[in-house]
Structure formats: C-alpha cells, structure tokens
C-alpha cells in the first residue's frame, strides 16, 4: 500500500513540477479516490461474507425458515453494503467532481 501511496505522491509531485495545478489536483483526487474506495470496501466485504455465511448456516439448520432468513439476509446486506456504496460515492466525488 505504501508503494502505491509513494507512486501516487510521485505522480502528484510530477504534475505539480510541470506547473499544472489542475492536473496535480486531478492526480491527487484519483489516487485518494482509489484509497477511499479500497478502504471502504474492506469492512463491508468482511461483514457481508460473515452475514451470508451465518445466513447459509441458519438456512441449513432450519430449511423451513429459509424464506424469512433470506429476507433478513437481504436487509442486512443492504445496510452493510451502504458503507461500501458511500465509499464508492466518495470515489466518484474525488475522481470526477
């Protein structure tokens, strides 16, 4: 990760040295956008994995409750996923806005 950060910093420095402020800003935005999304995806990734695993376990234990478990699972995924999606929105904002 530090390698990536270094290359990003170098790119920003390069752009800044070239005297192009907009390009420097865009480069900084692009690299931090990557970080923002990457970091935002870690937690929800673990969370959704755990959630679905538990849901599968519940459904295997009680197949007759599968419908209810599935609905609750989708709800849980929706709430967990929201964090990653906010990260994605931040990505878009940093990268394009």
């Amino acid at each position: 990760m530090s390698v990536l950060a270094n290359t990003a910093a170098q790119a920003i420095e390069l752009a800044a040295e070239a005297g192009d402020a907009d390009a420097a800003k865009a480069t900084a935005g692009a690299s931090s956008a990557g970080f923002a999304y990457g970091l935002a995806a870690i937690g929800p990734g673990i969370g959704i994995g755990y959630l679905v695993g538990q849901a599968v376990q519940a459904m295997a234990r009680q197949p007759e409750a599968a419908g209810q478990v599935q609905t609750t699972m989708f709800l849980g995924i929706a709430f967990t996923e929201a964090l990653a999606l906010i990260g994605f929105v931040v990505f878009i904002l940093l990268k394009f806005a």
Partner: protein, 265 residues
C-alpha cells in the same frame, strides 16, 4: 495486466485503454426541450418506459382463473411483492401499502434493467433523480404512517426518545436518532440504489472498454474470449443486481413503514 495493456497501447501508438470521462457515461444529450425543465433525454425516456411497460403488461394480461402466459408473470410479480416484501416486513395488515410498494418495485426494476438492454445500456437509476424521488416518497410515507398510527407526539417520542436511556444522555441519543431516522434513512435508500446502479454501469463500461482495447491490441487479442466472457458474466450479474435492488428498495420502504406503525422502537 494493466502494464501489459499500457505497453501494447504504447506500441500501437495511442490506441489502447482510453477510459471515457464519466460525463460521457451518465449524461445524455437532449432529444428536445434543451435547457428547460422539460428537457427530455435518455433518462426521461427510460423513466417513461418504466411507466409504460408495466402498464402494458398489466393491461394486456388476461384476467382468468387459470393463468397463462403474461398473466403468470404479472401475478408472480404481485405475489412476490405480497409475500416477500409485505408479509415478511409488515404482515397481512400491510396489504394496503401494496400499490405504493408494487409501484416502487416496478419503477426501480424497469429503471434498472435498461442497464443491460442494447441501445439503451443505461440504468435510469444511475442518475440521482429517480432514486431521490423514490426515497422522498418513502420518507414522506413512513413519516405520514407514523403520525397517523401514533399521532405526531407519539411518533416523535417513539422515534426520538427510545425508552431506557439515562436522562443525561437523552439529548445526544435524540440527536443521533433524529439523524438516523429522518436523514440517513432516505439518504441511504437513495444512495444505495444510485451507487449500486452507477457502479454496475461503470463496471460494464470498464469491461466493454477493456474488450475493445484488447481487440485493438494485436498480441493480446488471444485474451479477447476471457474479457468477453467476463463481460457476459457481469451482464448476467447486473440483471440479478437490478432485481435485488428493486427488491431491497421496496423491502426497506416496507420495513420503515412497519417501524413507524409500531410504537415499540
């Protein structure tokens, strides 16, 4: 892979991976009325199609005791919203919200599914407008239901002052509850749908661009089956996402309505 691509691009002299700016992906030229509020572009067209297609489906389906063809599809949709959304989130007394929840489901689904339909290739919900409208409708609905079911004071009390909280912490808890109930819920609804569809759209565009780039880069053309298969697979995945997002949006609306109906928080 990227290094290879860049290498190939350099070799070819600038033909390689050129990702289009996001404005080209999500903003569409006006068909008419440019510059006014009536400006009609692809998003508006998809919104209108999301109105027209369900209308035609419902009107054209026969209303017979033994269903067949289109009637099966229409009834499965209604049955799905009934069982999976209303009964599992609110219960049998939630059936009076059926028109709203069914409309949300249909509007979101048909707004999404144009993501994979050739010549459209754009989910209407990848623009903030439609998710915002739907989220506001859901927001107004659950507040109205709460006020109707518990009265204004009761609803505010049950949603802002959860029982069993120490007096000293009450202002903080109330603030958090206010933000989470009245601001984050609609925000979350809108952003969830919008970001999912925008991400899916960008994903498909990325793999489409990658396919074109690999096709152009002569030594890498052997990778074309791989990238193309991935693109096809992701298209199928996006169909599933379209359906799940429609389900989740209507389910969350139903859950919020259900939370407003009961005084117990």
């Amino acid at each position: 892979m990227n290094a290879l691509l860049l290498f190939a691009a350099e070799e070819e002299g600038g033909g390689g991976l050129e990702f289009p700016p996001i404005e080209n992906l999500v903003e569409w030229p006006a068909y008419f009325g440019e510059g006014t509020i009536f400006e009609f572009n692809k998003i508006g067209l998809i919104s209108l199609l999301a109105l027209i297609i369900p209308t035609i489906m419902f009107l054209a389906s026969k209303k017979e005791l033994v269903p067949s063809g289109l009637q099966n599809i229409v009834e499965s949709i209604v049955d799905f919203v009934d069982k999976q959304v209303i009964l599992s989130a609110i219960g049998p007394e939630g059936r009076k919200y059926m028109p709203l929840l069914l409309s949300i489901f249909l509007f979101v689904f048909f707004g999404n599914i144009f993501e994979v339909i050739p010549t459209f290739q754009m989910p209407a919900n990848a623009r903030m407008a439609n998710p915002l409208i739907l989220a506001l409708v859901a927001w107004v609905t659950f507040i109205a239901v709460g006020i109707k079911a518990q009265g204004f004071g009761g609803f505010m009390k049950s949603s802002l002052f959860p029982p069993g909280v120490p007096k000293a912490l009450m202002p903080l808890v109330s603030l958090i509850e206010f933000i989470s109930t009245f601001l984050l819920r609609p925000f979350g609804l809108a952003v969830r749908l919008f970001a999912n569809m925008l991400a899916g759209h960008i994903l498909l565009v990325t793999f489409g661009v990658l396919c074109i780039a690999v096709w152009k880069a002569s030594p890498l053309v052997i990778l074309e089956p791989l990238t193309f298969a991935t693109l096809v697979g992701l298209t199928g995945f996006e169909v599933m996402v379209s359906l799940i997002q429609a389900f989740v949006f209507s389910l969350l609306t139903a859950v919020y309505i259900s939370l407003s109906r009961s005084a117990h928080h």
